[in-house]
């Protein structure tokens, strides 16, 4: 409960005085920090005259971002398709599997220990096997992204479904709700904040998975571009690719946050993003 959090007092404070500064602070501070770092970086490269093979200046990277834009956009589209499909597959498999863990005892007994044990296997190590099985095309990347991303969705879904308050379940039972209705009216909506937590973690993991897949073997994508540029000692293009990748990942994360804020408007973390996270 929010009232019991030690930071409840600061919550009340920011709510009492919702000035423009207080509302912009969550965006302003990281932006300023980032700007500061970029300026320091630029100054460092200019002052030390470090080789641009080792560390290109931000201005060089920006120039490459512009000149190589068509290439970057093309590669981004490939990588985005890979991690979006992998993420989508994680959602489609992860949420029902989480529900089965909670509602079907045999499934829990049979699958849960293996599921947890499987997470100790380093996924990057099995990525080459996927490529051997499925070829160097998109399918292997999608499946690698899926294998890395689906676990937090399963676990967070199961946690959220289990956390439904018993008195709320009793209320709907005395209205005549059957097991499916208990799920639909209580357990599932109650689990949504957890599910979104899992989705956000999964979104970043899916990006990692797609890149790992491209590193192993690919002819397209941002990960492939990083490898190629690196081989040609075009460090500036490597950095430009990484920046593009970050923009993709962060953009997807914020898209999820937007959806979350719309879907669970009722939830504290959705209403007060600046203090309700974690």
């Amino acid at each position: 409960m929010s009232a019991e959090r030690p930071d409840a007092l600061t919550d009340a404070d920011t709510e009492a005085l919702p000035s423009a500064g207080a509302r912009l602070a969550p965006y302003l501070y990281p932006a300023l920090t980032l700007a500061g770092l970029v300026v320091a970086w630029e100054a460092f490269t200019k002052l030390t005259a470090v080789s641009r093979l080792l560390l290109p200046a931000p201005s060089d990277i920006a120039a490459t971002l512009v000149s190589a834009l068509p290439l970057l956009v093309h590669m981004s589209a490939i990588t985005a398709a890979e991690f979006l499909l992998g993420f989508g597959l994680s959602v489609v498999v992860g949420i029902p599997l989480g529900a089965l863990l909670v509602h079907a005892r045999p499934v829990e007994l049979a699958v849960y220990p293996l599921l947890v044990a499987s997470q100790t296997v380093p996924k990057a190590a099995i990525a080459p096997i996927f490529v051997v099985w499925l070829g160097a095309g998109m399918t292997s990347k999608v499946l690698i992204a899926f294998t890395i991303a689906f676990f937090p969705i399963v676990i967070d879904t199961a946690i959220g479904l289990r956390a439904a308050p018993p008195e709320v379940i009793n209320v709907v039972r005395s209205m005549g709700a059957n097991a499916f209705q208990v799920f639909w009216f209580v357990r599932f909506p109650n689990a949504l904040p957890n599910i979104f937590g899992g989705l956000k973690v999964a979104s970043t993991l899916a990006v990692v998975g797609a890149i790992v897949g491209e590193f192993v073997s690919a002819e397209k994508g941002l990960g492939y571009l990083v490898l190629v540029a690196n081989g040609e000692l075009n460090t500036t293009l490597v950095f430009a690719s990484v920046v593009t990748l970050s923009v993709l990942g962060v953009g997807f994360y914020f898209l999820l946050e937007l959806v979350e804020r719309f879907v669970i408007r009722w939830h504290v973390s959705a209403r007060r993003p600046e203090t309700g996270t974690m």
Binding site: N170, R173, F185, N190, I264, W266
Partner: protein
């Protein structure tokens, strides 16, 4: 006293068929392997349209008894029979107010009240005016679109009360519904509940910690012992209706309150030294 002289709502238990029969109902929990006797055998009836209050010390098994009557947990021994039907699964022709408001955080105030309608598959449009009227009656109008997380504890409990009433059930089970209210709102809610009951004559099982609340509302007050809960005594409350707050200071009311208090003192509760 004869039945004809009684004001409406006075106990005429023999003349009425029982609506709810609680026969030797017993409950033992097994928390972490250890047996815990929450309720010793309890036997009493609720007549049709009767208002019965239960008072008892904390932890004596009042909430447990309510859950047993609602068919939400199984009895260890004995049986609950409602309108001739033995309760072995949740009884649904009922409105329940639990000790915790048990509102759904993701539904607005109005949608929480209409949850009753949605789960039962009834026509939402037909019941929405009823829901709004009930909310207005308990002073929640203007908050229909708020989420429970944006309400005070007392407001949430009033929403839970509306939810229990919106489908007009013949039986009401209420577990300390006014526990989280301030004294003033509480007085008002008690008066409102009495008025509702006088209009609709539902059968009510009303659990409370408050001795005056129990007496003020009830035809009969069941006093329970500390855990494992037993019926310590049953008081017929023979006060005219509608009852007024001022009656709390009347000698007759004082005698009932003293009787309940003395039962508690006999258990070693309410030590005055």
């Amino acid at each position: 006293m004869t039945a004809e002289l009684r004001t409406p709502g006075s106990p005429v238990e023999a003349a009425r068929p029982p609506f709810v029969r609680i026969a030797g109902v017993e409950k033992a929990y097994r928390p972490r392997g250890r047996a815990l006797q929450a309720l010793d055998p309890i036997t009493f009836d609720l007549g049709v349209g009767e208002f019965v209050s239960i008072v008892g010390p904390s932890g004596c098994g009042k909430s447990t008894l309510l859950m047993l009557v609602a068919g939400l947990i199984p009895t260890t021994a004995g049986e609950v029979v409602i309108q001739g039907q033995r309760i072995i699964r949740p009884y649904t022709d009922v409105g329940v107010v639990f000790q915790q408001d048990a509102l759904l955080a993701w539904r607005s105030v109005l949608d929480n009240v209409l949850l009753q309608i949605d789960v039962r598959g009834l026509d939402r449009r037909r019941y929405e005016p009823t829901a709004r009227a009930l909310l207005a009656r308990v002073g929640i109008s203007g908050f229909e679109s708020y989420y429970p997380g944006e309400l005070s504890g007392g407001m949430r409990q009033r929403v839970a009360l509306c939810r229990a009433l919106v489908h007009d059930p013949p039986l009401l089970l209420m577990d300390e519904p006014f526990g989280a209210l301030d004294a003033l709102t509480r007085d008002q809610m008690v008066l409102d509940l009495q008025r509702l009951w006088l209009e609709a004559r539902k059968t009510v099982l009303f659990i409370t910690h408050s001795i005056w609340e129990a007496i003020f509302l009830a035809d009969r007050v069941v006093v329970m012992s500390p855990r494992p809960g037993r019926i310590a005594s049953v008081l017929e409350i023979d006060l005219p209706r509608p009852r007024r707050l001022g009656m709390r200071e009347s000698p007759a009311f004082g005698r009932y309150a003293a009787a309940v208090r003395q039962r508690f003192q006999a258990f070693g509760l309410l030590s005055e030294t």
